[in-house]
Chain length 456, copies 2
């Protein structure tokens, strides 16, 4: 019988990141300066981001970027991540489909975010910077960045949405253990924070506000830059290690996936998972079915518009052309998992627009139900984000059961749910409810979409 | 350069448990019936424990027990666990010592406990039982048992110390997600629980009380048995997979450890880690230095007495000959980590008594300091229990730095600290304090040790 876990050797950790854009005939639309409505230049971006990362962000043509030894050495403490045959899940479902999952939660940050955090911290250090700033909501990205910053010897300043800072103290303490300074946002440490506190003294904060504070903290400090954990091209580039490893592991066992399923909020996990497979499809070398799964409460792909919009609710970031619900869209607070971003990576958006992938949206109770089935069968408690991909994969596997098809499904298991247990408690107590925005809600949110740049 | 992680293949997961007692010339003293003061018989034990497990408990002679296929298949979803070369920790310490750690936290229960939970649930199912009962404090064992019970299709009833149930809801929710029924103890579901609630209406419970309730729940239900996650011979037998895998991995890379360091509360992790190495030492085939690390706040090996004592504070369990602080000893509530048991596995106790291993005791702030160093270097947030072993290993590595010796150290990393972040918060805030029992405290606790059985 085939093994449960297919491990690569350390030598088989990818030596290069794969840049999916190089194989796209129609490239994702460029980031645009909201003031001039012209594409952002490297110079403009370098005030906020690290130099090397700006190069990666803007480069649509270079197919492979070598992964520096310092990053590869760091990857060795938690990579290669396993590709696992979900024998027990297949049995529980009674499906003829073969299900594999690529598990990115086997590190203390608990998710795939560490892949890009390591790269971004490395390049910041190489540039001779003192530190990096970022924002975090529930804390997966902040945790990952704190770990990477500690390793590379950088100061790490994290603005954490105040509500999460107070109600979800566990990730905060992981960040502090790794030496990060964690500030509840809004705070009195920035101009924008003080302004918001004055206007809304009792606010529990928002991701948009935390982004604004983190950017301000970077640009007002000598030797600091701002870093971001999703959405950007550079982040998808770094996350390609997920797909590259999965691709190699499948090669090793002589199996080819038919259907690749991933969850998507900003798109970093999905984009990394599908990268080399989508590359083959774009080059006409192979065909795969790609399924993006998003929450019904924040349905940017399935119900959004493909337009230029601000990446942040505070409107301090550039405009990106993407599937968006409008930058004023705030998912219902009853939604427990992540994937709460109003927009979507421009790469994923353009691929979806080209018809290269499907999208499905699920409600959260059915997602937790799927997560529970998976946890019992495979012994891993999934993150709610990953639960979306699981729900998608289970549904497809049950469709295979109907049709009798022995399809091979690859499922991206982006992380663990150890820090999401309040949501599991709601589910266990039967008090979890669903929320789907009405058409009216969406019309209101779309009104936030700014005037569109011409000719882009 | 050598690899960071040394993985075994699935086929190299041990096929047999190794029974260390078979190689001990002086066997650990038998469990004794507190009523008759005679060794417990199989018949007496089978009222409480599963048949097959009782056989394993009492068998001092069989060297190897075959691991049934059902257990091996379950092990495949999270084993073999990696043996990791701690290159980054070595560098951070500047030591010539080579440090390896065997990491047992790569599963949703977060610790090595799952190794025995899987075995105990399997044998219970084989016996045709309906369910199993147990107690849990912080919840590592309860989580592991819930996962195993879900896999093998058994009802699982967990009595969780009420203080933990209320203050540490996360592990409780993992257990519930796996379908376990979790009851705060003391409860009104048992006679002993009702009695305690009547006497102490506001009590937050104790492990001793939870044990008594779990045992009562098992013996008063048709088709139920009680299971225990540490201390017992059977548990150390199952945990031998840790040491067997580590031994095989070292063989693969042609390295032999000089010093083996593990933390110990009841002894299950340490006993499993050292098993095959100690076997070689007992048979005179090789020599190793073994170091048991315990908390200074609960110093059973370093300050306890080697005598017969009750395993539980409720005095419903058999007597065991072990290093004990007295069954009435309750570690200070300021102690944050696990390892709070007043006694010690009879196997570990006898080996220590024979001078086959050393013991060290550390205070908790220095343990968390070591855990932080480890987390930053190796990217894994350790459980406070494992932090004790880390502190021991770091001290030995620094001794090697002094002496210039290139010793090879094997460190047992029993689990992760994801559910111990309130303790990390205390440490990060600088509010963590230490407590070492005074000689007077110990004299008071020793008074609980019952009259000793003659001739044993």
């Amino acid at each position: 019988m085939e093994n449960y876990r297919i491990y690569l050797t350390e030598e088989e950790i990818p030596t290069h990141y794969y840049n999916l854009r190089a194989d796209m005939k129609v490239k994702p639309a460029p980031l645009v300066n909201p003031g001039t409505l012209k594409p952002m230049t490297a110079e403009e971006l370098e005030g906020v981001f690290c130099k090397e990362l700006v190069q990666q962000e803007l480069d649509d043509d270079t197919r492979y970027f070598e992964i520096p030894e310092g990053i590869r050495d760091y990857y060795k403490i938690y990579r290669p991540s396993p590709l696992v045959r979900a024998f027990n899940l297949e049995k529980a479902l009674g499906t003829p489909a073969k299900i594999y999952f690529k598990f990115e939660g086997n590190n203390t940050s608990g998710s795939h975010k560490l892949n890009s955090a390591a790269a971004q911290a490395y390049y910041a250090k190489q540039q001779g910077l003192k530190g990096i700033t970022t924002e975090t909501g529930a804390g997966q990205w902040g945790t990952a960045l704190s770990m990477a910053a500690a390793h590379f010897g950088l100061d790490c300043i994290v603005y954490m949405v105040k509500g999460s800072y107070e109600q979800k103290p566990f990730r905060r303490e992981v960040m502090r253990t790794y030496g990060a300074s964690v500030t509840p946002s809004p705070s009195d440490t920035t101009q924008i924070g003080r302004k918001i506190l004055e206007q809304f003294p009792g606010t529990t904060g928002s991701l948009g506000c935390a982004i604004s504070e983190a950017v301000e903290a970077a640009v007002t400090r000598e030797g600091y830059r701002y870093v971001l954990g999703s959405v950007l091209n550079q982040v998808l580039l770094h996350q390609s290690v997920i797909g590259l490893e999965a691709h190699k592991a499948f090669e090793k066992i002589g199996v080819k996936p038919d259907i690749i399923v991933g969850c998507t909020g900003g798109g970093s996990n999905l984009g990394g998972l599908i990268a080399p497979f989508m590359g083959e499809k774009l080059r006409g070398e192979a065909d795969y079915r790609f399924v993006a799964v998003e929450p019904a409460s924040c349905p940017s792909l399935t119900r959004g518009k493909y337009m230029y919009d601000f990446c942040d609710t505070g409107n301090v970031c550039p405009l990106a052309k993407m599937y968006t619900l409008g930058n004023g869209f705030i998912p219902s607070p009853i939604h427990a998992g992540g994937l709460r971003f109003h927009g979507m990576s421009t790469i994923i958006s353009e691929l979806y627009h080209q018809g290269m992938m499907e999208a499905r949206a699920y409600e959260q109770t059915e997602v937790f139900q799927a997560a529970e089935i998976f946890a019992k069968a495979e012994g891993i408690l999934p993150a709610p984000e990953s639960g979306h991909a699981i729900k998608g994969a289970i549904d497809i596997a049950l469709e295979c059961k109907e049709s009798g098809e022995e399809k091979v499904i690859l499922l991206g298991l982006s992380g663990t749910g150890y820090f999401d247990l309040m949501a599991y408690q709601q589910y266990n107590d039967g008090t979890m409810t669903d929320y789907i925005p009405s058409d009216e809600d969406l019309v209101k949110a779309f009104a936030f979409i700014p005037p569109q740049p011409e000719d882009l």
